[in-house]
């Protein structure tokens, strides 16, 4: 199966482990992720104001380019990219004012068609393309059961806590990925990977997100709460889909170890790293070197051959 794939800026720089593990694991599942040729930044934080047309235009432009190539869906792994693209697409589908304005902007945008002898006329877009998270592709097109059959390394001794964070779930009415209060898609995914799954109360809580950039102190408390809650529930690793959750949860542990005597570090892994491990991708191809809290000792302890 072939599907256009939007990587996003972070996957090309600070979260190379996420992209590498995604591509390695997808190749083993016969899932061909073809990178969109001329992708631009998704804008990361979706605009919440009503004068937001300038922020929506690049997102929809990118989506219309995918549509023009003949595809009917696109996928992404980063929670922020997923959130922005899916919400922009939702606005195009359900808000006539947004649809009219963005289409009128894009109607005049022939920059990418200039060098063609006979530019094709712009076709109005009304949100027909499906924006999917890779988890949805794995659930609906590949099937978690199929992943279970393809498992090469058993991970059942790894008790991973699924951590959704904010961008994957909310606003639920627009994203429609899963229930915002009791999500299960990551748990099902983990069970499909033969991995132990420990749900904990703060799995849909925010990790402090980008506020850590302007006020580095502010994200320590949320991170501490999430990690200790996962540890108390019996987890020995925490699984995320988002490079920013990964950064906050992983990077802040150095400071938490200094501040709290009783704090025990908890390895943070991307969901695709676990998928790759389960499918038998060599561990050196999964980018574990980027982690501050190295998950490899845990894997060795739990008898996973790395």
């Amino acid at each position: 199966m072939q599907i256009p794939y939007y990587p996003g800026c972070t996957l090309k720089a600070k979260a190379m482990a996420l992209e590498q593990s995604t591509l390695e694991a997808a190749a083993l599942l016969d899932l061909e992720l073809t990178e969109i040729p001329d992708w631009t930044c998704c804008g990361a934080a979706y605009p919440l104001n009503y004068d937001r047309m300038a922020n929506l235009v690049p997102l929809i432009r990118l989506i219309t380019h995918v549509r023009d190539s003949g595809a009917n869906a696109l996928t992404t792994t980063c929670s922020f990219c997923f959130n922005s693209l899916r919400r922009a697409n939702y606005a195009m589908r359900h808000d006539p004012l947004v649809r009219r304005r963005v289409n009128s902007y894009l109607h005049d945008d022939f920059a990418h068609r200039d060098y063609e002898p006979d530019p094709a006329p712009y076709q109005e877009y009304a949100g027909e393309l499906k924006v999917l998270h890779l988890l949805e592709v794995l659930r609906d097109s590949v099937g978690f059961n199929e992943i279970r059959y393809a498992v090469h390394r058993e991970l059942s001794h790894v008790h991973a806590a699924p951590y959704y964070g904010c961008m994957l779930l909310r606003p639920a009415a627009e994203l429609e990925l899963d229930d915002p209060e009791f999500p299960t898609i990551l748990s099902e995914f983990l069970l499909g990977c033969s991995c132990g799954c420990v749900e904990f109360p703060l799995m849909n809580e925010c990790c402090g997100s980008y506020v850590g950039v302007s006020q580095p102190e502010s994200s320590l408390n949320p991170v501490y709460r999430v990690l200790t809650a996962a540890r108390l529930a019996g987890a020995n690793a925490i699984v995320t889909t988002c490079p920013l959750c990964f950064y906050n949860l992983d990077h802040h542990q150095r400071e938490l170890i200094e501040r709290f005597q009783s704090f025990q570090p908890l390895p943070v892994v991307y969901f695709t790293q676990l998928l790759g491990l389960a499918l038998g991708v060599p561990a050196e191809h999964l980018g574990f070197d980027e982690h501050l809290v190295d998950p490899r000792p845990l894997l060795l302890e739990k008898e996973v051959t790395v």
């Binding site: 104001n49 009503y50 922020f80 606003p171 402090g208 490079p243 920013l244």
Partner: protein, 140 residues
């Protein structure tokens, strides 16, 4: 925020001020329908870094206390995780209100946060999406 007065003057003119009109225009939210159940505050992961709790912010906005809302740290601590919105019984999006207050404050020239304010350590380590989001939300 140290300059918060100990009493507030509430009047029709305040509640129907330009600030209130603009707040409604930008956010599309009806802050008046909030009945202060406090569920947003109990859901918010960032309250330790806030000076006004989310429900207090909405209360001050209801009463047209623009200088309190505009000078509070709260709207610059909001991570727009939308936990408050998901749990609000009156379907108010507090994150939208916070964004409207930020936009209004930027129009007044009140808060400025730029690349100079970020420490080198954060610049080197933080993922790109965090920097893009932080500048989008807090810098104008």
């Amino acid at each position: 925020m140290n300059s918060r007065p100990s009493y507030f003057r509430v009047s029709t003119a305040r509640v129907r001020s330009e600030f209130m009109r603009r707040l409604h225009e930008l956010s599309g939210e009806d802050v008046v329908s909030c009945f202060q159940c406090g569920k947003c505050t109990s859901s918010c992961p960032m309250t330790e870094a806030m000076d006004l709790m989310p429900n207090q912010l909405i209360r001050f906005c209801q009463l047209g206390q623009d200088e309190v809302a505009l000078h509070s740290r709260t709207v610059y601590v909001c991570a727009s995780c939308l936990q408050c919105e998901a749990r609000c019984p009156k379907n108010i999006s507090i994150a939208r209100v916070a964004e409207a207050v930020r936009t209004y404050a930027a129009g007044e020239g009140l808060e400025h946060y730029g690349p100079d304010a970020v420490s080198l350590e954060v610049l080197r380590a933080a993922p790109q999406q965090a920097l893009v989001s932080a500048f989008r939300k807090f810098a104008h």
